[in-house]
């Protein structure tokens, strides 16, 4: 294979005559004179180290503040005292219209149970634990102490409820 001759072996560059430094000094002076407004160096904000440091410090301060603020914000709720019976009844009387009937019954039951405990069965010194059955019996006694059987049955008939089942239940109860 014929090897090509290197063209640079046959090409010779001509000598170039460099211009004097005075030429360029005059040229630069002319340009400076024609364009006197020297713009200040614009350093992109992301290139200034100090801006990076301040940015990181700012973010760290904000994060720290938020952490501390959240901790202080958590308010430990006080364990409020339980309302007294009088307070509860007063509240109920004031808001009786808003009450759901079922909740109302439940409230009264709770109150009466507490009353029973405090009056008849409470023994502050060495109170015995009652059995579940005993408690249920006490509950029924309280709930139905003012009603007799006939009154109950009349009510049920009026409400068209299943009497037979309930009669059996009542018989067992009473």
């Amino acid at each position: 294979m014929k090897q090509e001759k290197n063209i640079f072996d046959y090409i010779k560059r001509k000598e170039q005559e460099n211009l004097s430094t005075d030429f360029f000094e005059n040229l630069s002076a002319t340009i400076i004179k024609q364009h006197p407004q020297q713009t200040t160096k614009i350093v992109p904000i992301h290139k200034k180290k100090i801006h990076w440091i301040l940015s990181v410090a700012s973010v760290a301060a904000i994060v720290l503040f938020m952490v501390i603020w959240n901790e202080n914000k958590t308010v430990k709720l006080k364990i409020t005292e339980q309302p007294t019976q009088e307070e509860l009844l007063a509240y109920v009387n004031e808001n009786i219209d808003d009450f759901d009937e079922d909740l109302f019954v439940e409230l009264i039951h709770d109150q009466k149970e507490q009353h029973l405990h405090s009056k008849d069965f409470s023994n502050k010194e060495g109170q015995k634990e009652k059995s579940k059955k005993q408690k249920e019996a006490e509950f029924k006694e309280v709930q139905f102490e003012k009603l007799n059987k006939e009154e109950i049955l009349d009510y049920l008939r009026d409400e068209e409820l299943n009497i037979q089942d309930l009669e059996n239940t009542i018989d067992e109860t009473f």
């Binding site: 046959y10 430094t21 030429f23 000094e25 040229l27 002076a29």
Partner: protein, 189 residues
């Protein structure tokens, strides 16, 4: 005797100080790289008057934009790029006008190469400059500094911040590419 100019970073730091310091730095940069830029332009324009006009445009751009120069790249490469763009823009505008007296060819041809012998020095120099345009920018800069400016690899290394080994390899590769381009064009003429 070659003048020892300050390092590019020193000059840029001086420029950053503003006012008279900027003017001083700009003047030194102009003197340091003026001839290289001048001849880079003149090889294409082929006359002093047009070269002077283009060079002024280049230096105005350098003076007004040096404050935005990104120091991640080499200063001379940045100057080279401005000079190249201004030269091409200038030539585009000048196409409409009648050409003025031009220089002689930038090269001489020695007899003995069967292909080169068939063409004029002007034609070959035209193709040579076209071939340089096809090179990557940095490689074109290296070739121009080595071949036309006749700088030593150590001087180019200092100017561009590239190792001498890398410069030698790049120059060798540039020579191969230019030879291939020129012969290919000449063979098709």
């Amino acid at each position: 005797m070659k003048i020892k100019y300050p390092d590019d970073n020193e000059l840029l730091n001086l420029f950053d100080q503003g006012t008279s310091f900027s003017e001083k730095a700009f003047t030194i940069i102009t003197k340091k790289y003026g001839n290289q830029l001048y001849w880079q332009i003149r090889r294409i324009t082929k006359n002093h008057e047009q070269t002077n006009d283009v060079l002024q445009n280049v230096l105005v751009k350098v003076w007004t934009n040096l404050n935005t120069f990104n120091r991640d790249s080499n200063l001379y490469t940045w100057l080279y790029r401005i000079a190249r763009n201004e030269t091409l823009n200038f030539l585009e505008k000048e196409k409409r006008h009648a050409s003025i007296d031009t220089d002689d060819s930038i090269i001489e041809i020695m007899a003995g190469h069967e292909v080169l012998d068939r063409f004029s020095a002007d034609k070959i120099s035209e193709l040579l400059l076209k071939a340089i345009e096809t090179l990557p920018e940095k490689q074109a800069v290296i070739f121009q500094l080595k071949y036309f400016e006749d700088l030593k690899y150590s001087e180019i290394s200092e100017q561009l911040g590239t190792s001498e080994g890398a410069l030698k390899a790049s120059y060798f590769h540039a020579v191969q590419k230019i030879q291939h381009f020129v012969l290919n064009e000449l063979n098709h003429l």
